[in-house]
C-alpha cells in the first residue's frame, strides 16, 4: 500500500516544486528585462537566484531520493544560498562606488501599446548620472596617466 503510494507522492511533490521553480526563474528573467534601472533589475535577478534556483534543486532532490546525487544537489543548494547574496552585494557595491545613481520615486510602466518606448526612456534616464561620474573621474585618471 505505502510502497505503491510513495512513487506517486514523490512524482507529485517533485513536479510541483519544479513547476514553481521554473515559474520563478522565468519571472525573474522577465523582470530583468522589464525593470527600468540597474538597481531595480538587481531585485529581479534575486528572485531567480534565491527561490527559483532553490525550488528547482529541491525538486531534483526529491526525484533523486536518498542517494549520493541528492547529497551533491544539497551542496549545490548550499553554495547558491551562500554565494548569490555575496555576488549581488559585490555588483551593487561596485556600481554604487562608481557613482551610478539609482532612479528613486514612483515608476510606472508606459501603456501596453507603448511597450517599445520604455527602453528608450530607460537609456535616456541613466546616462546623465554616468556622464556626471565620467566628467568627475576623468580628470584624475588623465592626470595620473600623464604623470606616469
Amino acid at each position: 500500500m505505502i510502497a505503491e503510494f510513495l512513487p506517486v507522492a514523490q512524482m507529485l511533490i517533485a513536479s510541483v516544486l519544479m513547476l514553481a521553480g521554473v515559474f520563478f526563474v522565468i519571472a525573474g528573467a522577465i523582470g530583468v528585462i522589464r525593470l527600468p534601472d540597474f538597481y531595480t533589475r538587481m531585485h529581479a535577478a534575486g528572485v531567480t537566484d534565491t527561490l527559483g534556483a532553490e525550488l528547482i534543486i529541491f525538486g531534483l532532490i526529491v526525484q533523486a531520493g536518498i542517494s549520493q546525487t541528492s547529497l551533491k544537489l544539497v551542496f549545490i543548494a548550499f553554495f547558491l544560498f551562500l554565494t548569490s547574496p555575496t555576488a549581488t552585494h559585490a555588483v551593487v557595491g561596485a556600481a554604487w562606488q562608481s557613482g551610478l545613481k539609482p532612479k528613486l520615486g514612483k515608476y510606472k510602466a508606459p501603456a501596453p501599446g507603448e511597450a517599445k518606448a520604455k527602453p528608450k526612456t530607460k537609456s535616456k534616464a541613466t546616462p546623465p548620472a554616468k556622464s556626471k561620474t565620467k566628467s568627475k573621474r576623468k580628470s584624475p585618471v588623465k592626470t595620473t596617466r600623464t604623470k606616469k
Binding site: S15, G28, F75, S98
Partner: protein, 129 residues
C-alpha cells in the same frame, strides 16, 4: 511514472534555456557595465540549474559534479570581473582599498559603455610604459 518525470525534466530544461535567452538580451543590450555583469551572474546560476537537470535527464551522476564546479566558478568569475574593472588588474590586494583612499594602486576607472573600451586600452598602455 518515471516517464512523466523524464518529460518534466526535459520541460524544465527547455524553460531554463528560454530564461537564458531572455537574459542574453539584457547581456547584449544592458546600458551599463553592471547590467551586463548582473546578467552574466544570473546566466551562470541558470547554467548550474540546467547542468543539474541535464545530469538527471541523461541519468549520469557525474553531471552534478560539473554543476557544483560551475556554481563555485561562477561566483569567483563575477568577483574577478568586478575587481578587474575596478582596478584594471587582478593582482591588487583588496586590503589596499581600506588603508589608503587617496592613493589607489591604479586610478579607478569609470564605467561608461562607450568609454570603457578606450579607457581599457589607455590604462593598459599607461601601465606598460
Amino acid at each position: 511514472m518515471t516517464q512523466f518525470l523524464y518529460y518534466m525534466n526535459v520541460g524544465t530544461a527547455f524553460f531554463l534555456l528560454i530564461g537564458m535567452v531572455l537574459l542574453l538580451t539584457r547581456l547584449l543590450s544592458g546600458p551599463t557595465l553592471y547590467d551586463r555583469i548582473l546578467a552574466m551572474n544570473s546566466f551562470g546560476t541558470k547554467v548550474v540549474l540546467f547542468l543539474a537537470v541535464f545530469a538527471l535527464i541523461i541519468g549520469r551522476d557525474d553531471g552534478v559534479d560539473i554543476a557544483i564546479l560551475y556554481a563555485l566558478m561562477n561566483f569567483i568569475a563575477t568577483i574577478a570581473v568586478l575587481k578587474f574593472f575596478r582596478y584594471s588588474a587582478l593582482g591588487v590586494s583588496l586590503e589596499d582599498e581600506f588603508i589608503e583612499e587617496e592613493n589607489p594602486p591604479v586610478a579607478p576607472r569609470n564605467t561608461g559603455v562607450n568609454k570603457t573600451s578606450t579607457n581599457r586600452t589607455g590604462t593598459k598602455k599607461g601601465k606598460r610604459t
